[in-house]
């Protein structure tokens, strides 16, 4: 009897600790434009970290929670970026429309590719997703007239937001807060999904697909839903990235970025809600630093991959949790 009360207390203490940790994260994020320049950073770096955190959190819904090994998610990131740019150039100069347009483009591509990729599972699924990613890459590179080919899509910018007749210019700080709001929204959506029966069924797919099949669950449909949701979220991140940099490049769809998203999830911890966020912060800061000090930064990024796999397979949060146990 007493042990169970102790366990409950421990559980409460633990979840209390989690709430405090989450609050600290949000407060820190809220004041980034104030403290980051003081320690030598710049706001756009934090914005990029948040964008990658959105993408990695979206991917992790599939990768970490449903167990789908997708190595081609940069395709949807890139489609979001190109979609946003094309919306701004050809439809209307409106940031919300660009975000919506790019997200829908990437998400629909994900809905279409999902069933084809899911014809196979496991290691084979990974190969197929890589290959589909390459398909979109070559479409972007070769469809010169629409996409600008190898040079990427340029000629658009963050136009001011119009709210209640007033034009609000999106400077680095305001754009950071826009991204932060969307990040909070995405995290809230993922949190709700994971708490819902749908989210539980995702985890069940990961843990025991065969058993779920025998229980009469349409497993393929579950994976498809996870795949589609994750591509929508990754595409949203892609649109924000295009708005941040002012252009969409074929690299946004490339295999290296796909791999980077996966390693971000592994680095932070695939089984943790905050893991992808933490991984994204580490990865972006490391990338920014390495590319400023060495020409061979690609080797070092590759080294991060290798070391993360060999010594940190549980990720940073998994490591911390493992020690606390």
């Amino acid at each position: 009897m007493s042990t169970s009360i102790d366990a409950k207390l421990a559980l409460n203490r633990k979840s209390g600790g989690r709430v405090v940790a989450a609050m600290v994260i949000w407060v820190v994020l809220l004041f980034v434009p104030f403290w980051l320049p003081m320690i030598g950073g710049y706001t756009d770096l934090a914005t990029r970290a948040l964008i990658y955190a959105i993408a990695a959190s979206g991917l992790n819904l599939l990768l970490g929670y449903t167990g789908g090994l997708s190595f081609g998610h940069a395709a949807y990131f890139g489609l979001g970026a190109y979609g946003a740019g094309l919306c701004l150039i050809h439809i209307a100069p409106s940031v919300p429309l660009a975000i919506l347009g790019g997200t829908v483009l990437g998400g629909i591509a994900g809905i279409l590719v999902g069933p084809m990729a899911m014809k196979r599972k496991g290691i084979y699924f990974a190969m197929i997703t890589i290959a589909f990613g390459q398909m979109f890459y070559f479409i972007a590179v070769r469809w010169n007239s629409l996409t600008g080919g190898e040079d990427g899509l340029t000629g658009f910018s963050r136009v001011p937001l119009h709210i209640g007749g007033e034009a609000i210019k999106l400077g680095p700080e305001r754009f950071y807060y826009l991204v932060l709001v969307l990040f909070a929204l995405v995290m809230a959506i993922i949190w709700q999904i994971l708490r819902s029966p749908l989210g539980h069924s995702f985890v069940a797919v990961r843990e025991n697909t065969t058993r779920l099949r025998f229980l009469g669950v349409a497993v393929d449909k579950q994976i498809w839903v996870a795949f589609a949701i994750s591509t929508f979220i990754v595409a949203l991140a892609g649109t924000l990235n295009a708005l941040l940099t002012g252009f969409a490049s074929p690299d946004n769809l490339g295999w290296q970025l796909s791999g980077s998203f996966v390693v971000i999830c592994v680095l932070g911890g695939m089984r943790s809600f905050w893991g992808p966020f933490l991984g994204a912060v580490i990865f972006i800061v490391a990338q920014d630093y390495l590319s400023s000090v060495t020409q061979n930064w690609m080797s070092f990024i590759g080294l991060i991959f290798v070391l993360a796999v060999l010594f940190f397979p549980q990720g940073l949060l998994g490591f911390i949790k493992g020690r606390g146990r």
Partner: protein
């Protein structure tokens, strides 16, 4: 018109041979080692660059033998140090590791040999066309096809008749059982990895003579090789060769008549195969799932 068609089919066949050799090695490693070797492409590039470096000393034919062996030595070291700890773990990790390895190796190649492409000098007698009507039929291309046939034939003979080949095939079917029967599966997997890398090295030298060398040649050839495996069917080595040739020829024909789509067509074929026949042309049902 007919000549153009013949020309493009032949061009595609030559590229398809590279895809097939790569896919064959990848397939072997995927089968017994259970690893998607993403660094396969950079091992291939390395084979080409090593041949480029040693060719002045040992000649073209010498480099054709020495360079793949040097590549294999490096491959075995990588297998021993980096990949062996990952056997039996989630395939995610070996894929990520070889992913990172590919980035490191490509960067090192760029640092050592430079970012610009290097031409691989062939002996003059190999470069001349064999006939005037079929100008695209150079001696080198004939040699390339012959070498590929010999290498592939030797591989299938080894797998069919030699003791280690029989064990590799048995290991593909049931690794646990042959381990229980006293086969050293660590040695077996290392040997298998070496054979796969050897094929990549050979492909690298042949491709260097045909396409020239650039640091990114590996990553540009590995993606179609994945598609070759998916189209041909996982678990079937013959299927991998067939898949490589099919997508190579399809890409060659498209390059002649609709050049914009020469890369995309490969992936369209993959999508069609996945819809109509998900296990691939010669694949087995339910493998690696």
């Amino acid at each position: 018109m007919e000549s153009l068609l013949l020309y493009s089919v032949f061009n595609g066949l030559v590229v398809g041979i590279f895809y097939a050799l790569m896919a064959l090695g990848l397939s072997l490693i995927l089968g017994l080692n259970g690893v998607i070797n993403f660094a396969h492409g950079t091992f291939m590039a390395l084979g080409g660059y090593i041949a480029f470096t040693i060719e002045p000393y040992v000649g073209f034919w010498g480099s054709l033998i020495v360079a793949p062996l040097l590549t294999v030595i490096l491959g075995l070291a990588v297998e021993r140090v980096l990949i062996r700890p990952l056997y039996g773990r989630d395939p995610l990790f070996s894929l990520l590791l070889t992913f990172g390895l590919a980035m490191i190796m490509e960067d090192l190649i760029r640092t050592i040999w430079g970012a610009v492409g290097r031409p691989f000098v062939l002996p003059g007698y190999l470069n001349a066309p064999l006939s005037n009507t079929f100008f695209f039929l150079t001696g080198y291309r004939v040699v390339l096809i012959l070498i590929t046939i010999v290498v592939t034939g030797a591989l299938f003979a080894v797998l069919r008749y030699s003791r280690i080949g029989i064990r590799i095939r048995a290991g593909n079917a049931d690794l646990e059982t042959i381990s229980a029967m006293g086969v050293n599966i660590f040695f077996l997997r290392a040997a298998n990895f070496g054979i796969g890398i050897f094929l990549a090295g050979v492909a690298g030298i042949l491709a260097a003579g045909q396409l020239g060398l650039s640091p990114s040649i590996g990553s540009s050839l590995i993606m179609p090789s994945f598609v070759a495996i998916i189209v041909g069917g996982v678990g079937s080595l013959v299927g991998s060769v067939l898949g490589g040739l099919i997508i190579g020829i399809a890409s060659g024909i498209t390059a002649a008549f609709f050049p914009v789509a020469q890369e995309v067509v490969i992936y369209v074929i993959m999508a069609i195969v996945l819809v109509i026949r998900p296990r691939g042309l010669l694949g087995q049902e339910g493998l690696f799932e």
